[in-house]
Symmetry: C2
């Protein structure tokens, strides 16, 4: 590995063989030295889970021989991959951590359920500039090629400018061909949510079980939101923080009578 | 169930038989009608995980017969419990969701890894006032009795005043006897993190594996933080939001050259 090139840790939540991470690795190899530490199986919906009650495996694998590119397959979650990548595998702090490209949206409230973003946040907590990338297409055959030029330009800007302490980027791509994408837009997280529907079934032994399904409900029509940007052909970029304190409510809360 | 009493959904991440949720249920039964939907096994460190690639079981159980109190054991995560509780089990929206009392701290950065808080956040996303409670004692034999009067007063204030849209409460108790606790303190999340250490071992088949361990590093000495409050004998209360947008960075980010 070359000391003058940025060292980039790559992970995801769809698993190390997913097409999305392959596309991300390709772009990162044009920019720096790449070390991949990614889950050995899909981890979607894992939120910011970490493995504390079980053992972790993390094995070097060779998907493709290369000079500036190593890969490790990990039995844990995306956040585990970042922890073990930075502490056990890399011998210096990486210059950047990128996660994705996720097969499916992590815009709006999806950010809190997102394994992709949990990896970026974990890196951010450790003081590493970090970006999560997601494409609004759940298909295994999703076309990531229109994302690539933006992945590259956003990554290069982060490497050039850095990110403030406590902030990582959440980037989502609309499902559009390259010529239809209008560029990037800096956004806030739309105030949307999922309305769950449970598909109730009965197993062959007569016990009820459920599949979680749902509808995405967005009543936040502001043009400043990621949902608006994506619906209107833009790549959305939301700066994400992990100080979850609702600072605007501290004063009111102080007036409550909480001790009796 | 009584229509004039508040309907309270109770969950946790240590599992439905944990002493912490038993203490929480006792207090809630003094306040309202209680429906418990909690994981059938411990889920600590699950973050905001949801079960989308697997089936969910959710069975009514009888730990103790009671008029204003029902219990369901769920195979999913804390966030799953809130989703299935509100959508499948309760026939009206609950007036409150409480989660805990967790065996162990969810102060500072622990909030992002916390199954306890993910349940409260999930309820908040669904527009239900919600509180997560945690005691700084990992022991199964932890003494929850000093927490009870504060659990009651905080819950009653939330029922009386409501919470702003998009805000839930993160309450942590110091490990102290009742007489040593100085009261509650409204706080912000301390800017602390974990320094991971992986305990590397070799299994009988010769394959390396890891246990995740770590040290909690807090350089944020502000008296406004939850860590300060807890270290100084106070019950910490942090209002938590799930709009993760780093609003303070939007303007700077807009000046970046992201499209080429």
């Amino acid at each position: 590995m070359n000391k003058n090139k940025p060292l980039i840790l790559v992970t995801n939540d769809d698993g190390i063989t997913a097409p999305g991470i392959r596309a991300l690795i390709e772009v990162m190899k044009e920019i720096g030295d790449v070390v991949v530490v990614a889950p050995d199986s899909p981890q979607s919906g894992m939120g910011h889970a970490i493995t504390i009650s079980d053992t972790l495996f993390c094995d070097k694998i060779t998907l493709k021989e290369d000079d500036n590119h190593k890969e490790y397959s990990c039995s844990g979650t995306p956040a585990d991959c970042v922890k073990i990548g930075t502490q056990e595998i890399l011998n210096r702090k990486p210059d950047l951590c990128v996660s994705g490209i996720n097969h499916g949206s992590n815009s709006s409230i999806n950010v809190i359920y997102s394994g992709t973003m949990s990896a970026a946040v974990e890196a951010g907590v450790e003081g590493i500039p970090a970006i999560g990338f997601s494409l609004l297409d759940y298909s295994l055959n999703a076309d990531f090629s229109p994302c690539k030029k933006y992945v590259k330009s956003i990554t290069q800007e982060v490497l050039k400018n850095g990110l403030p302490k406590g902030v990582v980027l959440n980037v989502n791509f609309p499902k559009l061909e390259a010529s239809k994408i209008k560029g990037t837009k800096i956004c806030k997280q739309a105030d949307a949510h999922w309305e769950e529907e449970f598909d109730k079934r009965t197993n062959p032994q007569g016990r009820d079980y459920y599949w979680l399904t749902g509808n995405f409900i967005n009543n936040d029509t502001s043009e400043k939101t990621d949902e608006w940007a994506l619906a209107n052909g833009f790549v959305s970029i939301v700066p994400v923080q992990f100080d979850l304190t609702a600072h605007h409510f501290l004063k009111d809360l102080n007036s409550w009578d909480l001790n009796e």
